[in-house]
Symmetry: C2
Subunit: 204 residues, 2 copies
DNA sequence: CCTACCGATCGGTAGG
DNA sequence: CCTACCGATCGGTAGG
């Protein structure tokens, strides 16, 4: 009977749940100090393991950032689908979208902040994916505003500028929400109302 | 007659105007790649000198960032003084402030972007100064909204949330202005009008 | 998951 | 403004 490495406990496997703990800790660090200013050693210290061990979960620092970006854009794409793609008037769909979009930025401000500040540092296909996502997201918002304008529901003239305004308003939440004192639901209502104000919704 | 170092041109002095060229180039680099991702060597290459020579103009990378931050907050403080501090109704002052504030973010989007993304990496007294400036700036905006509310000009309920909304709207300009196609003056008008919309200005 | 270690690059300094 | 150089730290790998 020969001694196997596992019996001697020379090699310890990654503990279950470590991947999630790494992401959770990274979000905290990135939100406070920024992605570039957080080294893999800083992150490992905060997680409670060695820097080399992080690479059992993410093959590079960029893959960790990409993981966060991917989860975030998937979530936001789903929100967009579920609101703008539903049945209802342009007003109803725009306000449903803005409500969910704002709630997400409150409940996931760390993720939103990390993506917003650092997506430009991604490379190759990841960067391409991010760019395509952002264009699609922006376009869908412009489209619903144009639709409402064509239907006579919205009085606003510049659909593209108004879409940028709504995006900037909501994305801004991620910068200050964690030190604010308002529930995500109430915030969502406020922004849904703001969106209708910006498109100059007319009484039907 | 002995040969002096200057005759042999061993030591060349900094050329006039180099300081401004460094700042100008840095603003381009920071806006595209980010402050943390731009090394002093990258910057020196883009300027056309050696990394060591940069230190004849700025004693450290942080001092270069601080120079940009200081110029920006001085400019914005002046804008705030010249608009909110003038005579006129709260509506007039709020709209004058927002107009200038938005124009600045169009004409100086690189500076605004650099400050907004990187002021957290400043240290010690510089960080304290930035924090104090931001609080003061935010407070002045809340105050004018409250004043308009007390005077019956504004119908909005939450002055603090509305102040954040106006700030987020304008700061957002810096993210996309350089690829947009609108004059600073027209943009200023749009945002001045938006601000009055957000505070729910009542007919006087 | 660890120890040990690597080449590259960083911000910055000395000295002319 | 340059050449030459420094210690520190970076992301990442080998191997158990």
């Amino acid at each position: 009977m020969e001694a196997t490495p596992s019996q001697r406990d020379i090699v310890r496997p990654p503990a279950p749940g470590s991947g999630e703990r790494i992401v959770e800790t990274a979000l905290d660090q990135f939100a406070v100090h920024g992605y570039a200013a957080t080294s893999m050693r800083d992150l490992a210290d905060a997680v409670g393991m060695r820097a080399a061990s992080l690479y059992n979960h993410f093959s590079s620092k960029e893959m960790l950032l990409w993981h966060i970006c991917q989860w975030t854009i998937d979530s936001l794409s789903e929100i967009q689908q579920d609101t703008l793609g539903q049945e209802g008037s342009p007003s109803e769909r725009l306000s449903a979208f803005t409500r969910s979009f704002a709630q997400f930025h409150a409940t996931h401000s760390r993720e939103a902040l990390t993506v917003e500040h650092n997506w430009r540092t991604l490379e190759g296909a990841h960067l391409d994916t991010l760019r395509a996502y952002r264009r699609k997201f922006y376009r869908a918002l412009v489209d619903i505003i144009e639709e409402g304008r064509a239907a006579g529901e919205f009085g606003v003239r510049d659909s593209e500028l108004t879409a940028l305004n709504i995006l900037d308003l909501v994305i801004g939440i991620a910068n200050w929400y964690r030190s604010a004192n308002i529930e995500p639901e109430a915030l969502g209502e406020h922004y849904a109302r703001l969106a209708l104000l910006l498109v100059e919704q007319r009484p039907q």
